[in-house]
Symmetry: C2
Subunit: 321 residues, 2 copies
Amino acid sequence: MNEFELIQHFFTRSACAQGGENILLGIGDDCALLQIPAGQSCAVSTDTLVSGIHFPEQAPAFLLGQRALAVAVSDLAAMGATPVGFTLAITLPQIDTPWLQAFSEGLSAMALQCGIALIGGDTTRGPLAITVTVMGAVPQSRALLRSGARVGDVLCVSGALGAAGAAVPYVVGERDVHSLPERVQQQLLAAYWTPQPQLELGRYLLGKAHAALDISDGLLADCGHIAKASGVSLQIQQTQVPVASAAEQVLDAHAALQSALSGGDDYQLAFTLPASAVAQVQHDFPAVRVIGQVCSGSGVHLVNAAGQSVAALRRGYQHFE
Amino acid sequence: MNEFELIQHFFTRSACAQGGENILLGIGDDCALLQIPAGQSCAVSTDTLVSGIHFPEQAPAFLLGQRALAVAVSDLAAMGATPVGFTLAITLPQIDTPWLQAFSEGLSAMALQCGIALIGGDTTRGPLAITVTVMGAVPQSRALLRSGARVGDVLCVSGALGAAGAAVPYVVGERDVHSLPERVQQQLLAAYWTPQPQLELGRYLLGKAHAALDISDGLLADCGHIAKASGVSLQIQQTQVPVASAAEQVLDAHAALQSALSGGDDYQLAFTLPASAVAQVQHDFPAVRVIGQVCSGSGVHLVNAAGQSVAALRRGYQHFE
């Protein structure tokens, strides 16, 4: 089977390459063609996962397919965009048919869940790496940016944090996941491998939130991006940060909190909006929690219940550090 | 310098990240935002270059930056699309400031030449690889596809072929480029490292050509894509294929022809159109050559001056073979 037949077989025929109402032309020509609806802009984001850096070399292919797409689509959610299509650039050390089959099934499962279609890509030989570029549509001039936070806004997160970070030692094999109760195993591994892009919430927040992003590097690190882009400071009340129960099951309270603050990989949204809007948002999305507020100044400041500053620890994963 | 500062420094501030009239939001948020003009579709293509597979590990960074973007933009040219923006996913083994500086300058040089802006991407650690995803705009329902060739059309190429293929032994160091006259060195290396996306011709062919693609894998292999997608056969007259003079300078006549037929990497366009349109096209684009015709049947058939079938040799580079 040569390169072209490989692409043909595994990706053109995969479930995620079928349909998509805004896909005018899918895989198989020099370019794919998308229709961005009138009055909307095209939102674009690219994410790369490298074997041995972003996932273990022996990662299950189905889960890897799910995660590679989910982390990219999460960026569309953070802008309030509706997914349209994605390209997949995959570099493989060799052809491994069962691996490719499982990978494409995982990719398709997440694509169908997110309503996004595979429209093209490139298959190359080399060390295993996956680059996904997602495209979505968002109403013109209404996208959720990092730069819109206003002094007086409250800071919210879309759900509990820390489970994905707590899962990492089990994912990479430093700890034996089978030593855990089955329910905890499932919660932890799902948090890491199948993050749920907050698409519904992102669209809901259009016209409501002043700033938003998805938490990929860790709450503190990512809130730092909002603070910097908006020219404000963010005060986070440590006791209000919702810690995932799966993290609390495998870590002591301090370590679970640290995972929630800095672990990353949860792909929940952090956003700011007027305090007056919170009640309705929490009614419609009960998992949303207020964790702090937007102040003048700069940086991210963690405070305890008494309002005293607390030293933040590690501020999220950064390559090359 | 951490990952974020790295991206900030080398790419956000690079010349190619500035401006772009259809760029509503560039690098720095969860997504970039593009404006696709009313009445146009968004054309998308992704290409990956892997170190040691698609370019030598010691490739000059400036030239690599130029080439990585050019080969991707060439796919926009092949559809008749106008470039808008691109994302860059680059995986690096370590931070090498002079290398990154030279790479971003090469990337910017090609971006400015093509009128396309860097809008985002991802910088990761790992074996050197570069994935570029380009987006362009093309009038709705008018894009040049592979599938539109009609029996009776003539088959054309946009210019001479074979120089990039002839350059490969010099690029990878199998042969010493300094043994060649300086003019030939320059022609050969330019053909490989700085292919010129045929954007002006692609746009010109909208409404004129019935089918088009860019020649990346080799003339015979790529014409096979047109034949298959269109449900026709293509007859190519071997004596009409324009062979690049740089190829003829370093190869014997037979080998130079083989490079033109199968070498790939030239990024000229192959296209079909009614014979009645050829004179005007050649008047406006004098490098265009008629090399064959579209017939019923299937496959690509090479014939000699007497119209006799000639066995084709290697049909272009395919990964994994």
